[in-house]
């Protein structure tokens, strides 16, 4: 009897959950641009994962020269033309997406957790010395634009993909501690938190089981929007020469290399540049859609 009852409960929650998802999807799909963004993102992600199998010239993503085909304009053979040493730009752009997506995912994976935890701790201990210390440290990291600090840090290290990601993560967490601080410091006065305090729940329980779940929607939305910004930052670092190094096909690196040959071989710059714009735009559109679904305004 008891088992059946529990099963029934479980089914009820599952149905409710599915309902939530369906309602979320309904809200999301009302915004056609967000759906378009999602489709573009799925295509880009699949293409990036399957790059070695689907690109016409997978060998061209590395150091490769074939001067016979150098500097050819776009054609059916080379959709985006070839660069100055004869590499297929279309293949390189698809491989470039691998770096971009990696940067976005790794930076957020490294940066969000510490930011969220600091925000939770300072927000819950609002008005005490913990808040003062935590938020002043955050302020220091926000005292210069993230691009400048990330550039300075990568410049002092050896420029490569790993260091680039570490540098961006190091300047990215403060935005999350700010956001979660704002959320947590208002949630801490809600009745359910007060109640948990009165029943003697531990601080850890209150922070992670009571407050954190209520911060997830804004954090998720911000993460989606930030994917675009972090990819932009990564491309920027590569463009300056402090990120993915040639002959690896970083999108920003390719724009910088191609720009030397403007205006003649315009395709070497324009296509990688458009590729950057498309992926950032797609993330922004999806992020906007999520913002509507979760009805969050703080981000």
């Amino acid at each position: 009897m008891e088992g059946e009852e529990r099963l029934g409960d479980l089914r009820a929650t599952l149905i409710q959950k599915r309902h939530g998802l369906a309602r979320g999807w309904y809200k999301f799909s009302r915004n056609r641009l967000s759906v378009l963004g999602l489709i573009v993102l799925l295509i880009i992600t699949m293409a990036a994962i399957l790059a070695p199998y689907i690109t016409p010239y997978p060998g061209h993503a590395k150091a490769y020269t074939n001067f016979q085909d150098a500097g050819k304009p776009p054609s059916l053979e080379h959709f985006f033309g070839t660069d100055r040493v004869g590499r297929d730009i279309f293949s390189r752009v698809i491989f470039g997406y691998r770096f971009s997506l990696t940067i976005g995912i790794v930076v957020l994976a490294l940066g969000v957790a510490p930011g969220v935890i600091l925000g939770l701790v300072t927000g819950y201990h609002q008005g005490t010395w913990i808040e003062t210390v935590g938020m002043r440290i955050t302020d220091i990291f926000l005292a210069v634009p993230p691009l400048v600090l990330a550039l300075a840090i990568t410049a002092m290290l050896t420029p490569n993909l790993m260091n680039q990601m570490m540098a961006i993560a190091l300047v990215w967490w403060p935005w999350y501690s700010r956001l979660v601080f704002a959320l947590a410091s208002s949630l801490r006065n809600e009745y359910f938190v007060r109640e948990a305090e009165l029943t003697g729940a531990s601080t850890l329980h209150i922070m992670f089981k009571e407050i954190l779940p209520n911060c997830l929607a804004p954090v998720l939305t911000k993460m989606t929007l930030d994917m675009g910004i972090v990819i932009l930052l990564g491309a920027t670092l590569s463009f300056i020469g402090l990120g993915v190094q040639p002959p690896k096909p970083g999108l920003g690196t390719m724009v910088a290399e191609g720009a030397k040959r403007l205006p003649g071989e315009w395709w070497g710059t324009i296509f990688p540049a458009l590729a950057i714009v498309v992926v950032i735009l797609a993330f922004n559109l999806v992020g906007d859609g999520l913002r509507d679904v979760f009805a969050v305004e703080e981000v």
């Binding site: 220091i140 691009l147 400048v148 840090i153 410049a155 920027t236 920003g252 724009v255 540049a273 950032i280």
Partner: protein, 339 residues
């Protein structure tokens, strides 16, 4: 009011102090020997050791920081290992060019951004609103180096409507340096042709910098215009038959401008970092290009100085923005003045 400004000044000082520790720490824990970097690879080990002693590199970190801070307060930021000149001399030479560009870009983005925002908000859901929405989406998603390259490619290289890179053509004699602002120096030297040419050269890089901020400020202004339009006092004015243009620019713009001014303060700092890219593309002999060169050459003293200068500018601009907002918004004035 004064109490508030004093408090803010103190906060800024604290943050700058923290920033200096942060960046100094990063510069010192990085692999590589600053003494070796300062002397070049031909120096003997004895010379390097003497240099390490001189630069206090053998002392513990807090002692090193103390010496560094003492020098900083005496206006000495060390010597650039790339240009071989004092960093302060370099900064003085390159900062005006960047500030001229950024001020010009701020002006463009403020005017165009406000105007599109006001019009898009007032004529909500019209074709203009739709078009400005589309452009702002694109503007936010396009890195400034892409904008810079595209504009240079289209307007300078293909259409030949604008001059190419640099502040002046190669053959044009620059006016004697007084302010460092090419447009003002041209006027001071009695050569308006120089000012005009300098403005033409500045147009493309300034627009490249402004695009993303036009997009953002336009959206924010639109939102606040839409909000304010629903308020009672606007309805009253409408009923009283006040002209649309007066309604728009006298009664709607002022309250709607406040969020935009806040954003503009933040924007100024972001303009400084985006200038890193635009100056690279347009070979603009400014502070940001100096910064990029320093970074690519691992010029530690210069990198630290660059970060501090940007942090200082950021702090000052934010303070200024707060003061402007107090002037614009009586409620803020009362709240902060009282508290």
């Amino acid at each position: 009011m004064l109490v508030f400004i004093g408090k803010r000044l103190f906060q800024s000082l604290f943050v700058l102090f923290g920033l200096s520790i942060l960046i100094f720490f990063i510069a010192r824990v990085m692999p590589g020997d600053p003494a070796r970097a300062a002397l070049g690879h031909l120096a003997t080990p004895e010379q390097v050791e003497r240099m390490r002693e001189e630069m206090h590199l053998n002392d513990p970190f807090p002692v090193q920081y103390y010496y560094w801070l003492r020098n900083l307060l005496h206006g000495d930021l060390g010597r650039s290992s790339y240009t071989r000149r004092p960093v302060t001399t370099d900064l003085a030479q390159y900062i005006p060019a960047t500030f001229e560009l950024i001020l010009f870009a701020t002006l463009i983005s403020a005017i165009v951004g406000q105007l599109t925002g006001v019009l898009a908000g007032f004529f909500r859901n019209s074709w203009f609103d739709g078009a400005s929405r589309l452009v702002s989406y694109l503007g936010i998603a396009t890195p400034s180096f892409v904008v810079a390259i595209l504009l240079l490619f289209i307007f300078s290289q293909v259409l030949k409507l604008a001059p190419g890179v640099g502040r002046l053509p190669l053959l044009m004699m620059p006016p004697p340096r007084i302010t460092g602002f090419m447009t003002i120096d041209g006027l001071l030297a009695g050569r308006p042709d120089v000012t005009l040419t300098a403005l033409k050269h500045m147009a493309l890089p300034a627009i490249s910098l402004a695009v993303i901020h036009i997009a953002q400020e336009g959206r924010i202004t639109r939102t606040s215009i839409v909000e304010n339009m629903q308020k009672d006092y606007i309805t009253v004015h409408k009923v009283h038959g006040i002209r649309t243009s007066k309604l728009l620019f006298k009664y709607l713009l002022k309250p709607s401008i406040i969020p935009t001014v806040t954003v503009m303060g933040l924007d100024f700092a972001f303009l400084m970092s985006n200038a890193f890219l635009v100056e690279m593309v347009y070979m603009w002999p400014g502070f940001s290009r100096y910064a990029v060169t320093a970074m690519l050459n691992k010029d530690l003293n210069a990198i630290v100085a660059v970060v501090l200068v940007i942090g200082l500018t950021f702090a000052l601009v934010n303070l200024l923005v707060d003061i402007i907002i107090m002037g614009l918004d009586p409620t803020v004035r009362l709240r902060r003045g009282g508290g």
